[in-house]
Amino acid sequence: AEDPIKVGILHSLSGTMAISETVLKDTVEMLIAKQNAEGGVLGRELEAVVVDPASNWPLFAEKARELLAQEKVDVIFGNWTSVSRKSVLPVVEELNGLLFYPVQYEGEESSENVFYTGAAPNQQAIPAVDYLMNNIGVERWVLAGTDYVYPRTTNKILETYLMDQGVAKEDIMINYTPFGHSDWQNIVSDIKRFGSAGKKTAVVSTINGDANVPFYRELGNQGISASDIPVVAFSVGEQELSGIDTGPLVGHLAAWNYFMSVDSDANYDFIDQWIEHTGNEEAVTNDPMEAHYIGFNMYIEAVKKAGTTDVDAVKDAIIGVSVPNLTGGYATMMPNHHITKPVLIGEIQDNGQFSVVWETPSTVAGDAWSDFLPGSRDLIADWRKPMFCGSFNTATGKCGASAGEMAAEEAE
């Protein structure tokens, strides 16, 4: 038989991010096992190469290099935080690898070698705000986030968007907290005060990771219920809820592109498979897992289409590939290396699941460059030839420097 296709898995198994990332490693392993059970692809088996970058950003780059240069993997599934992706990016570009990134992020990036299967801000944040504004009648906004790039960018985008929609500046409160913040008393009490001005208020939360549990606890204890001031979160999924006493949270919201509770056969099959794989009846699925599911299947399709695992061929082939997602529709890889996704708003239920209360009528294509940031308004990404550019400036008609350099390199 031929050599197996090597699939690198670059997710932290220890350190702070292990909480989120370990399941993604398991997911990819599960997908590989399933694919192998179906005979692999192109007659070749798939083989997982797992490394642990240990929530350490430079280590991500090092491990990526190890995967590509030493292990010679054909594709990498990995990363959670944006900083780790930023760290890995130069490496995959230099060594011409393929990276599937499964988590929602701040956008403002499009690399020839990276496929963004998580949501861009326009696939999560903006629809969520639309929902709150139009369906709930929210007029006053708290943008609460952890102090780093994703929340900052998202909030910047949202602020511009909200002001465009006619929300007054004093009706927006922005608040940042450090990573792992655990004492929310003051902030929640501020939110409470802010929300008592007589206008319907909502919190848009880009609070990351561990800080959420104490945040929701404090909300509950200070008597803020979802019907008073709903919180819509972009980083709280089933996985996170499984560590929270959901009793007091019922009714708070989250915006994702997938929920475990989605009523579709594909989803039920996926859940069954997952439970079987983990051997845990209580195991939950979540949005980034779906993103890997989609990314993985897209990769398989692209390899089939290209007839090879050669990186350049796969890169070409994958644009336009459509695979079923888990919510009953299809995801397509767009030329900007982002995919199409439906946007769902879910309410937290007492069983740690979300119930979908709203959904975009059709799927939304991810924007690499936000329309609401002055610097990137004019940029687009298109990795099809002849444009073949991650940041094409429609105003000047020129491609950003990165592609220019690459072209120069190719000429050498």
Binding site: L13, S14, T16, A18, I19, T22, V23, N135, G137, Y176, T177, P178, G180, H181, S182, D183, Q185, N186, I187, D190, K192, S196, G198, K199, K200, D210, V213, P214, R217, G220, N221, Q222, G223, A226, S227, D228, I229, P230, Q239, S242, G243, I244, D245, G247, P248, G251, S261, D263, D265, Y268, I271, E281, E282, E347, D350, N351, G352, S355, V356, V357
Partner: protein
């Protein structure tokens, strides 16, 4: 309760509801009497079935009507249905279209019951069930309806809560029923509430006297109404409202200060709890215990484990966790002491290295054995919510308990160190081991007991922290730095120092937070610690004199 404006697009006629509710209440009474004799048969032509099917089938825009229909039907089961609906427990069976109540919605197979008869229908795969959709807006309305029902409850507390719910929501249609209620109401505080609720409406109507009623109120709704009034074109009203507001602001300021103080003490108590075990193992014994955080983590996991053992009894489990958490962490402490620390006598800095290794091992152990994910620890009923002092000041109960717990643990520890022989012996052993042994003190035993004590206290901290924050493998890491900071800031080896340091650092942090923001506040506190240590190089309560220089 917080204000909620009914969104304009809501085509909900309040008067209709009220009327129907009042009507249904009477019917309910009659029904209640008769239902006892009524056999739960005749399902086919049960009117409830149609009502529920209707609820399940109507498009989202007409859900209100369907609810209305249920309420006004006067069916005595209505409340149960609506509650189930509100809790997302109403589903339909895909094949038959039958509406069922989901009793247990965890896992892949759900336990269901017939809403009409209450009969348990066993388990059914999730795939075959279709949830009847509800959203926040509807849930809010449902809560309102249920609250209205409560205005007639026998328990005055329920009535008060219900009246409070009405604040700011009173419109012309409600004035009359409320006034009638006021007539009947005997309980003073409920009356107050109703009066306030009415006054808010009246101020909006330009009524001057109503302003007086609101002048003393701290309720945000009242303030919102007065704020409106200030902006009104009636100068007399605006004037009066302004005065009322000024006096309210005054009171609010006081309350605000009290609140901040509470926040500070509460954060401080968390710091104290986290640090106090370390004040023993590190401060007294001199072991630089980097695994302290993981001992806290063990305590927290014990709470989780207890709650797994006693499902449905979170409160009891929590109480049992206190001794259990202590024992688990103390046992872990003994194992650490016996297997590693005892070999590092006289090499305190190396304990840093070894315990750092232990902390890595313990973290990964939890990740492998239990899960890398956080675990759910339930807050028992009596610990959730807050103690309401007044409309502007309420103290969250979980933190209140933690504060008290911290003080108790501190006092107990103080007793042990001051009043028992162990306290004396451990200090003697750390100050001069060989000499202490020459005096017949069994140093090994003292070491074990002290380390166990410090570790056990860390476990207690874990039990408390499980009520405030994540229970996960990283729990310990989040507290270790702070703990060392507190112990050192207070002055190594001084328990009082640890208490005062924790409380004051917590308070400073919370005082700074409102104007500096959470991140900056933390930075400022750290810089403060650095500068403070320059002033007092041996912490808040230094060991003074020659003795310290040894």
């Amino acid at each position: 309760m917080l204000p909620r404006l009914s969104p304009p697009q809501l085509a909900f006629n309040r008067q209709d509801i009220i009327m129907s509710i009042l009507r249904s209440l009477t019917l309910l009474l009659i029904a209640l009497v008769s239902v006892l004799s009524l056999p739960a048969s005749a399902q086919e032509d049960d009117p409830g079935k149609a009502l529920l099917n209707n609820l399940a089938e109507v498009p989202a825009s007409r859900v209100e009507e369907a609810i209305n229909a249920i309420v006004s039907s006067g069916d005595e089961r209505a409340r149960g249905w609506l509650e189930a609906y509100g809790n997302n427990r109403l589903s339909r069976i895909d094949d038959t279209g039958q509406v069922v109540i989901v009793l247990n919605n965890r896992g892949r197979d759900w336990e269901i019951a017939n809403p009409l008869t209450g009969e348990n229908m066993g388990e059914m795969s999730r795939r075959e069930l279709d949830r009847i959709a509800i959203n926040n807006r509807i849930r809010g309305q449902l809560e309102g309806i249920l609250a209205m029902l409560d205005l007639n409850a026998t328990d005055p507390d329920v009535r008060e809560a219900s009246a409070q719910d009405m604040m700011g929501k009173v419109d012309a249609s409600l004035v009359e029923p409320l006034e009638a209620q006021l007539e009947r109401e005997e309980n003073a505080s409920v009356r107050n509430r109703i009066e306030e609720a009415l006054a808010i409406y009246r101020v909006g109507e330009g009524n001057l006297e109503a302003v007086d009623v609101l002048a003393g109120s701290l309720h945000p709704r009242a303030r919102a109404a007065l704020n409106e009034a200030v902006r009104s074109d009636n100068p007399a009203l605006a004037d009066k409202a302004e005065q009322a507001l000024a006096s309210i602001e005054q009171k609010l300021k006081l309350n605000r200060a009290a609140e901040t103080l509470y926040f500070g003490l509460s954060l401080g108590s968390v710091l104290v709890l986290a640090a106090i075990g370390l004040a023993i193992t590190f401060g007294v014994m001199g072991v630089i215990n980097m695994a302290h955080g993981e001992l806290i983590m063990l305590g927290a996991y014990t709470t989780w484990g207890m709650q797994q053992l006693l499902p449905g009894q979170p409160g009891l489990a929590l109480i049992f966790s206190i001794p259990a958490g202590f024992l688990v962490a103390a046992t872990a402490g003994i194992i650490i002491e016996r297997s590693v620390i005892q070999f590092l006598k006289g090499r305190p800095l190396e304990t840093l290295l070894a315990t750092f290794g232990i902390s890595l091992i313990l973290q990964q152990l939890v990740r492998t054995v239990i899960s890398p994910q956080n675990r759910t620890v339930v807050t028992p009923e009596w610990m959730s919510g807050s103690l309401v002092i007044n409309d502007a000041l309420s103290l969250t109960l979980n933190r209140l308990y933690v504060l008290a717990f911290a003080l108790i643990v501190f006092a107990a520890l103080m007793m042990i160190m001051r009043k028992t022989r162990l306290g004396l012996e451990v200090r003697a052993v750390t100050q001069n081991r060989a000499m202490a042994r020459s005096m017949g003190i069994r140093a090994t035993r003292v070491d074990i007991m002290t380390f166990a004590l410090g570790s056990g206290v860390a476990g207690l901290a874990g039990v408390a922290l499980s009520q405030l924050t994540n229970v996960g493998p990283n729990l310990g890491q989040n507290y270790i730095i702070d703990s060392f900071m507190v112990v050192v800031f207070g002055g190594v080896g001084n328990l009082w120092g640890t208490l005062i340091a924790g409380l004051s650092l917590g308070t400073i942090n919370q005082l700074l937070e409102p104007w500096a923001g959470a991140v900056l506040a933390k930075i400022i506190v750290l810089v403060f610690i650095i500068l403070f240590i320059q002033k007092r190089p041996k912490g808040l309560f230094p060991q003074k004199g020659r003795a310290a220089e040894g």
